[in-house]
Symmetry: C2
Subunit: 161 residues, 2 copies
Amino acid sequence: MAAKKIAVVIGSLRKDSLNRKFAHEVIALAPPSLAFEIVEIGELALYNQDLEENGATAPQAWTHFRQRIKDVDGVLFFTPEYNRSVPSPLKNAIDVGSRPYGSSVWSGKPAAIISMSPGATGGSAPTTICASRWCSSTCRCCSSRKPISAAPPTCSDRTAS
Amino acid sequence: MAAKKIAVVIGSLRKDSLNRKFAHEVIALAPPSLAFEIVEIGELALYNQDLEENGATAPQAWTHFRQRIKDVDGVLFFTPEYNRSVPSPLKNAIDVGSRPYGSSVWSGKPAAIISMSPGATGGSAPTTICASRWCSSTCRCCSSRKPISAAPPTCSDRTAS
């Protein structure tokens, strides 16, 4: 059976992001049945409906991102918490992917959310918000159970570049 | 007494945004004691801590935005709801304004949130989220009471440009 294609979307754009490092650790542990591919979101223009309406052509980065999400079997989000919610780059990716109206690439897509933080409960807001508000209403999201580890694992630096 | 300076931050970048139109209607009704000024957020680069750390100079648009918020006596947000939360441009403005760590321009700033939607309850999520999660923990936010009008008022087109 062909491996399931899983998009990995990382909420922080920071090069040394703990969530990015952890994403790479998880990817390295993946069984042959899962083919992870990181889908970057830093080049997506801020969502503005005007950019693809009334004859305007959607930014290429939007079109490319939407197609990549359409093409996968599921999505795994790794994200920190910024101001009691997901970081703006991830919120932007969510908004871009959800439009045009009626054509959301998230609809029915299996998804799960992992949040890492140096703080003991620093990642609880994104998982709560995504699971309860957005993700559960669009994606087929994983359980909303939130195991919180008191300390993040030590990640190697294989992903720092 | 000098008029209080109030920054108006509009969550949607859409030219014909209902919230933008309503913001202009409110501005037109302002008493002399209030001096509203729209602070645009569409030119802010997606928040990435790397852009202002380790010798990097913060994008000029970030610095300008932060200074404008610092200079006002309060902030009035007008925002629609995107995917059960605030639109990504507004989340980005919140994130940009909140950094660098310990220097948030929102800290202690009086603020209020207005959300307009063609749907009867379409704006309830941003006001709920902002009031309960972010704004109340940083700004001195207005009451979380949420009067919901079943139909938005008719706005003039004075603000459509």
